[in-house]
Amino acid sequence: MQSQTHVNNSLAATPLIVKGVVHRYGEKAALQGVDLVVQPGEIFALLGPNGCGKSTLFRLISTLVSIQQGTIEVFGADCTSDRAQVREHIGVVFQAPSLDGKLTVLENLWCQGVMYGLSGKALRKRSDEVLEQLGMSDRSKQLCQELSGGMKRRVELAKGLLHRPRLLLMDEPSTGLDPAARLDLWRALTQLRDADGVTVLMTTHLLEEADKADRIAIMDQGRVVACGSPTDLRKEQGSEVITISTDAVDDVAQKIESQLALSVNRLSSEVRIVSEGSVSRLSEVVQLALPYASQVTVGRASLEDVFVAKTGRAWE
């Protein structure tokens, strides 16, 4: 009995458990049985091309859409039966802006705070705190419609953080941000993770963004095809990759497979060799491929290689 309680408590502390989630829009299956566990205090990215189902999963976790099949638990609260509690645990930053442009930054935060049960002095204090944390204090009286894209994003983040959520959900957080603003955003996220222990779940279609996360789940056609830390996932693919850029993909791939007995991935205008130890045979590969290739490069395996290896399709 005691061990049972212990198990329940430890499960309750898990920020997110997704089990067997299936979701359909009419005939089309957007999610075909997704399982996922996000651990406390990690930045977790759902990576996948457009239409892979990550946004649908995001909507289900954020309680915007009802779950059709399977279960999702946020800190032990069920997204179907205990929606109100889930909503208290999560802070949501949507891809589409959710600010009221006709209100000032501070007024937007107050609206948000009231909906989460904050009011009076506590709300004012917390609003100032969050704006300070995100470097937006000097903009608090400005109308949101007058802010730049990067600043609006920061106010969105401030809204999401206002009620001190334990799990922060972000849909494509870097959309519309310039590189400097992206760096700022990541700095803020890692600070939240390290200082406040906030768990972050984000969706992204950017490989370089997913690379910065603690762990990622790669999604394709409504399924999770790989899950782990970016480093581990890359390691699975072997440490090096030889990329041959060519118009004759099939010819080159066939020659390498038959003559050098190395396994390859075929992309639309590239052949990638990811076999362990392939670099030691670089000169053979170059000799064979060069007549057909515009370029042969050697590099470390990327998340793109992981995607190609797991799905057999090119990253778009």
Binding site: V65, S66, M115
Partner: protein
């Protein structure tokens, strides 16, 4: 409760920060009143009243309706601009959202109509009377009812164009056939089929009772001719109250349903 007040406050602040909305909602009915009132002066037969006076309560109803409509269009904008998404994932019951819109939009409509009434009082078009406090209450209730009706229509829509269609096909006829613009004559045995239909549509239109009630309170001494149909003040109040309660219940039911726009 706090959420309702906050959402109502937000409606209020947004409205007065968009000056064109203030002008559109107040200016057009006043313009109609002056133009129609002057233009129709000669041709109007409404018992003892002239058209400017007859049409004044109708103008109040029009201000209430226009403002209520513009306030509820903001639901569609909120959805398009994404603000609604944030509200929908917050831990608040959905009826708070409807209540916030109705109270906020209704209050704006009410204040706009009061401004017009004040203007009419100042220029002497409306006499100062004991029934004015009652009139203000009836105006407030009507404002809430019309805003709730707007919420019912606006909730399921994802474009303001669609709402304009509803406005032209449902809401404007609702106003036109409320006795606001022309009176409702009694039916005589020789009445044509069309007259019978219009007569009954107007009598079954809940807004007819709000307008008739306002007319009786704006001009307590006004006597419409015996050839015109006019409900008693008690009936006006009763029907208007039923109208408000029903539209509010419909609005609360409407916001419980998920709409396609939420998936943006």
């Amino acid at each position: 409760m706090n959420t309702t007040v906050m959402l109502a406050w937000r409606e209020w602040t947004r409205f007065f920060r968009q000056r064109h909305r203030v002008i559109a909602a107040l200016g057009q009915p006043i313009l109609f009143w002056l133009l129609f009132g002057t233009g129709m002066h000669q041709s109007f037969r409404g018992g003892g009243s002239d058209f400017m006076s007859y049409y004044l309560p109708g103008t109040i109803a029009l201000i209430l309706m226009f403002t209520a409509i513009f306030a509820t269009i903001s639901i569609i904008e909120d959805r398009r601009e994404g603000f609604l998404q944030g509200v929908l994932v917050a831990p608040v019951p959905r009826w708070h959202i409807a209540a916030g819109k109705i109270v906020g939009g209704g209050a704006i409509a009410w204040v706009q109509a009061i401004l017009f009434l004040l203007l009419a009082l100042l220029v002497g078009s409306v006499p100062w009377s004991n029934s004015l406090p009652g009139l203000l209450v009836l105006m407030a209730i009507t404002a809430l009812g019309l805003t709730a009706l707007g919420v019912v229509f606006a909730w399921s829509m994802d474009s303001t164009q669609g709402f304009h269609a509803v406005m032209n096909l449902v809401l404007m006829p609702l106003w036109l056939l409320s006795g606001a613009f022309f009176p409702i004559p009694h039916l005589d045995p020789s009445a044509a089929m069309g007259q019978v239909v219009i007569h009954w549509i107007m009598r079954l239109n809940p807004l007819s009772y709000a307008v008739a009630g306002m007319r009786q309170m704006v001009y307590p001494d006004l006597k419409l001719g015996p050839e015109l149909w006019q409900p008693s003040l008690v009936l006006c109040w009763s029907v208007t109250l039923v109208f408000v309660v029903s539209t509010m219940l419909l609005a609360v039911r409407a916001v419980q349903r998920p709409s396609k726009g939420e998936l943006k």
